[in-house]
Symmetry: none
Subunit: 212 residues, 4 copies
DNA sequence: TATGAATGAGTGTTCATTCAT
DNA sequence: AATGAATGAACACTCATTCAT
């Protein structure tokens, strides 16, 4: 009988790199670029701090890597939606639901993006892979809009980039500002009912915006 | 005999406090809570570092004070709109325009709010003044909606908080994420035409959402 | 009766600065720029490490300050020799003796100069005070040579810079390389007799070089 | 049957050792013992860092090996001069020229010796080969002096060790301190004319010292 | 013989904060 | 009210060295 050996998990460059990246994503999301601590990242990655510098070069480069990965992740998830197979209205609604769910399931994404923008986007420059993925995404939405117009269900002339921004905005803003929102508006932004209500409101907003 | 006069206002507590607060707002907005430096704040405030501790207690307390002031400022500005004197549709459009303009004119506000939420809102807790101001603001929007429904121009059943959030979201998100947006979508988010287009798109979004 | 109070020695910026400079001179001389430790310098200066950065900017800037001070010290000491009042031959002999004694009494000077040159002199650039002091020194030697030639005791045509270099060299080299010298030549370079012999040899060398 | 041959010299212990030694000499000379980096030495040697520890034991042991090699190199070169075949005066002049040329051609030698002495010679202790080579060298100079005295061209009573030290000193000091010298004396120590002048001055110095 | 991965102790530097006046 | 000096803990980053293969 052959026993499946536990992999020693040591001396595995790729695994170490991945552990560091995951830990970094979590720390940067939680505390921002300036607030995150390289020591903590190493500790959470069960890695030596030196490895971070070996694999990524430095704190800012690690942040860069985390950001690119975060964006590629969401763009990949969007592609897997296969919205092209759905009627336009359903496709759009599904996109709104997906965006909302993605933000809820990947809360780090939002704070990472905020951090990237706090630093004026300088950690995201010149990533061609990202631009390609973004272009593909915009095309996808454009195609849904085109089909909707052809079917007579959507009104013509809607800019897919503006629509994308709005779809993202109405989910993103609610979630990123949930803490101040909860305090100022004296309602719990994160209880189930509130989340359901917001999603319904957002779907309504988007559909009213595009329907003929 | 003429006594050499003390220079007037050389030791003006209120002025020093205000200079510190202004410098802190700028630094916290630019670099976040963790990224801002107490030394720099003191330097920009033309104040001694010790004064920060004297007037505000510490870095986090200073951040707290900055946040509260920032929120009171926007709520005050909103009150001065006097939307009650306008027909509902005009009032709403004016609110959208105001919100957009406020974000554009006070870019620190956005990053301060982001920072507050990165830290899970803990610097904004228990400010009764803020809650009062927020309540007044929600009432104002509620009143506009009520008048619109009464006039038959708005459809009924719209939650004023959700509407507020959406009005804020569609402007806020565009501006806070303008750096990553510019990179990913390969268009300059801040050029005049782009800003105009976004504002028009947002007004359209809101009106389609509420009109009967 | 009035008791002379001990100065508290705290809160005295100049004293702290001086203590740091002295400790730094000792550490840099002992271990070189790369080998010296900022922590140790602070410890020996009975100062907080932070003060080093406050007063000097950083390790390399501190090294710079140490170097300039070391050179100004020797140039000042040279000026105090008042060689102009002595007959040329005595003046020159006195300069050789002084140079030798200075190296013996200030062994840090030699290793500091070595370190400065290991780093290709980049920490000594653009110090006008130093250049001025050097010029004055060369003039002084030139004047001794001129008087000697006029008196018929020195031969003409001797370059004062070359002479200076040689006077320094024959003392400096013996002392800076005393450790390897002791090992290679199997004689103790630092015992009294050896030091006396070397000084006599050097005086002889210089006089034979310049005497008519 | 033909066996696939191992690539020749792919694993050449001597070659690897030699490459490491050469790289180390360069790095230690350039940056000193504390400033040199084991990683850089390995990189320049096109060797794995581990090899340094395998062949030499550690950084300090490597420094030791570099030093011994450097001294053996110069002593070997000196032996090849065959000064015994020349008349005493020519032999001595040739030694001065050789020493000067060696320092110029092997600038690492000077900084390595400086580093060795900064560390108080502890890396050079107990090398019998070196002591033997040194003894042979001193004997050679002694023999030149003896022949010169016998010929009546040199004065008697000159200590060969002192003479050696002076010959080395007047070249060594000029070159090791060329950076600070250039700055302080405002003349380029390394331009051709300056080097020629210095050599001539040094030959003159030595001859005046020994000639009867 | 050779190597890439990994490490812990340090290394220069920075920070928010407090002290003494 | 205001200040410059001082501090200790922490920070990003580096190093010589060892491990596992």
């Amino acid at each position: 009988m052959r026993v499946v050996e536990e992999q020693p998990r040591a001396r595995d460059a790729n695994a170490t790199r991945a552990r560091i990246l995951a830990a970094a994503k979590s720390e940067f999301a939680r505390l921002g670029l300036a607030g995150a601590r390289v020591d903590e990242i190493a500790r959470h990655a069960c890695a030596n701090k030196r490895m971070i510098y070996h694999y990524f070069g430095g704190k800012e480069d690690l942040f860069r890597a985390v950001l690119v990965e975060a964006y590629l992740d969401i763009r990949n998830a969007e592609q897997e939606l296969e919205l092209g197979h759905l009627p336009p209205r359903e496709a759009l609604e599904r996109l709104v639901r997906f965006t909302w769910a993605y933000y809820l399931d990947n809360p780090e994404f939002i704070t990472l993006v905020n951090s990237a923008n706090l630093h004026r986007g300088k950690h995201l420059e010149k990533s061609e892979r990202l631009r390609t993925a973004s272009r593909r995404f915009v095309s996808m939405v454009q195609e849904i809009l085109d089909r909707g117009v052809a079917d007579g269900v959507f009104r013509p002339g809607i800019d897919p980039v503006q629509l994308n921004i709005t779809i993202a905005a109405i989910g993103y803003y609610y979630l990123t500002n949930r803490f101040t929102g909860t305090i100022l508006f004296e309602r719990d932004f994160m209880e189930d009912k509130a989340l359901e209500d917001r999603l319904a409101f957002n779907i309504d907003t988007v559909l009213r915006l595009v329907l003929a």
